[in-house]
């Protein structure tokens, strides 16, 4: 499904990602881990169209997606969440989730204009907001929510477009442990339901171990390990990168 080969992202003289290759298959949750500055987020940004890689190829379902804008990617089923969540003034939780849904292509603009969207609101609430514990906050402006809730909104927003590939950039960073496991559990549920592929950048190892089918470890812009979570923990190179010699 997702095939990245030799992806390199340079900022001037700094090589943020240097020759990263990865394959992600449908229905798989891949944890992308590594120390700070390893290039995880940069790699996600390159896949999701925020950066254009200096070198290398990225294809999604055999289509070359290098240089595609985020809106074009959204239409072919690539969605993502952000490490830092936006603080928007006026849009409510439901509004943001609806924007997320609309980027997938089919616009319901005219129907909404004529008929309103009450029934639609209820369906979205039940499907996405209830499981994430956001149902009571659906009419709150985003900036009134706690950090954890905003993170959950970002995930709901990305899921609303029913992506086939979901890129999660530190979905549970800074979220209380109980909430973190609930979020991760929901990601797993969605994967089971939609059969989408998930790439998850995360530092919380217990969440990664319990959620991901496979772990890819990055260090200094390169992939140094690709395999199961247990194997990653005992791998000599991974231990060296994390713990030092």
């Amino acid at each position: 499904m997702l095939k990245a080969r030799d992806v390199t992202v340079r900022f001037g003289g700094v090589v943020a990602v240097g020759g990263m290759s990865i394959d992600v298959h449908a229905g798989e949750i891949v944890g992308l881990i590594g120390p700070n500055g390893a290039g995880k987020t940069t790699f996600i940004n390159a896949v999701s169209g925020t950066y254009v890689p200096t070198q290398g190829t990225i294809s999604w379902r055999d289509e070359d997606i290098v240089g595609h804008s985020p809106s074009r990617l959204a239409r072919i089923g690539v969605g993502r969440t952000f490490q830092n969540v936006a603080s928007l003034n006026d849009l409510t939780v439901l509004d943001v989730v609806k924007v997320g849904r609309s980027v997938h292509g089919h616009s319901r603009g005219l129907r909404e204009f004529l008929c309103g969207s009450r029934a639609d609101d209820e369906a979205l609430t039940e499907r996405l907001l209830e499981p994430l514990g956001l149902a009571d906050h659906r009419h709150s402006p985003l900036q009134m929510l706690s950090y954890g809730h905003r993170k959950a909104v970002d995930i709901a927003r990305a899921l609303a477009s029913e992506p086939d590939l979901l890129l999660l950039d530190e979905p549970v960073a800074g979220v209380a442990p109980a909430e973190a496991f609930a979020l991760a559990g929901f990601v797993k549920q969605v994967r089971d339901l939609l059969g989408c592929a998930v790439v998850m950048v995360e530092h919380k190892m217990d969440v990664v171990m319990s959620t991901c089918d496979r772990v890819v470890v990055m260090a200094e812009g390169c992939k140094i390990f690709d395999g199961s979570g247990e194997a990653a923990q005992s791998d000599a190179e991974v231990r060296r990168v994390y713990l030092g010699d």
């Binding site: 985020p70 809106s71 952000f82 003034n89 849009l91 609309s102 616009s107 319901r108 909404e112």
Partner: protein, 342 residues
């Protein structure tokens, strides 16, 4: 806008229509001047207040609408055809003016609209076959749906009707995917782009819709004043419209109407006061200064304009008079929200 608000709006409009015959010519004149300005302010508020694209060429766009409607009307068409035609022509021009917004942001784009304003003013003088240059285009009264409504009361009825339709349409628009994208782009273009919103296309829609409304407003202006002349659509008019939405409230629909009423009526009131004291010329000269001062004061003390001021006053009244037990919680959270917004 909820159904209740729509009903209130229509009731108010009907009430205005009923009162109209008793108002006299001056009263009707005030009603349509404010209503037409409100449609124009609504158009600008959609662009600036909801989509975040600062524009200083709104006066020029109203001019495009006025000339377009005038030419279509003079060709013997119905006023409805002329107004819709003016809307379409102006929407097209507005999209052209909006094209730099795909590259420029914030103040840089605002400067480009300033350039557009001057180009439009130049074109109004230049394209004589359509505009009759400096002398201005005389506009024949046109029938409205075949009816002869070319008097002050008729214009007032048309303008109020059109204003109500525009308010309902814009408020519904803001509750569609497109409207939500406008607000998202205003709050953060980078976030919008990251979420997969096609920012360029969304902005151009904002320019098109805002331009359509501006064109209709300009067209009405042309029919009611019976002339479209370049000096009526200069930069000062653009500044007036920016003043309207700042005083009324950026990103607020009632704010557009309140602001338009304020900015249009202030000179009238000033003139009355001036006449009473026999100093009409002095008070007229004060007008620009008062506007400048008001904009600065509102930006500092009440960025959300008169509308926010009014709704807070209503809330305070309700809190002090209403039964404390069941109102307490909701008004406390309202207050929190207001504070957070400020």
């Amino acid at each position: 806008m909820s159904l209740r608000q729509i009903i209130i709006l229509i009731t108010v409009a009907l009430a205005v229509m009923v009162v109209l015959p008793g108002l006299g010519r001056y009263g009707a004149y005030i009603v349509y001047v404010v209503a037409i300005a409100s449609i124009g302010a609504l158009a600008l508020n959609l662009l600036i207040g909801y989509c975040g694209q600062i524009s200083f060429c709104h006066g020029g766009l109203l001019g495009v609408g006025a000339y377009a409607a005038g030419n279509i009307g003079n060709a013997g068409q119905d006023m409805v055809v002329a107004l819709v035609g003016a809307g379409i022509v102006t929407a097209f021009v507005s999209v052209m003016i909006g094209l730099p917004a795909l590259r420029l942001r914030g103040l840089y784009f605002a400067i480009s609209t300033l350039a557009a304003q001057f180009i439009l003013e130049y074109l109004f003088r230049l394209i004589e076959p359509w505009t009759h240059g400096v002398s201005g285009l005389l506009i024949q009264p046109a029938p409205f749906f075949g009816l002869d409504l070319s008097n002050d009361r008729g214009y007032a009825a048309i303008a109020v009707g059109l204003l109500v339709m525009s308010l309902i349409a814009v408020s519904r628009l803001l509750r569609t995917d497109l409207g939500r994208r406008f607000i998202l782009i205003r709050d953060s273009e980078i976030v919008a782009r990251g979420m997969g919103v096609n920012v360029a296309r969304t902005k151009l829609w904002a320019f098109a819709i805002s331009g359509f409304l501006a064109g209709m407003s300009g067209g009405l202006l042309a029919f009611t004043s019976r002339i479209a002349a370049p000096e009526a659509f200069e930069i000062a008019l653009s500044v007036d419209y920016v003043a309207m939405i700042i005083v009324g409230g950026l990103g607020s629909l009632p704010g557009a109407v309140i602001g338009a009423g304020f900015v249009v009526l202030l000179p009238e009131v000033a003139q009355r006061i001036g006449e009473t004291f026999g100093a009409a010329t002095q008070t007229a000269a004060l007008r620009e200064m008062v506007f400048g001062l008001l904009i600065i004061l509102f930006l500092i003390h009440e960025p959300r304009g008169l509308n926010s001021l009014a709704s807070r006053a209503v809330r305070r009244l309700r809190r002090t008079s209403g039964p404390l037990s069941n109102n307490k919680r909701s008004s406390a959270s309202d207050l929190e929200m207001t504070q957070a917004r400020l």
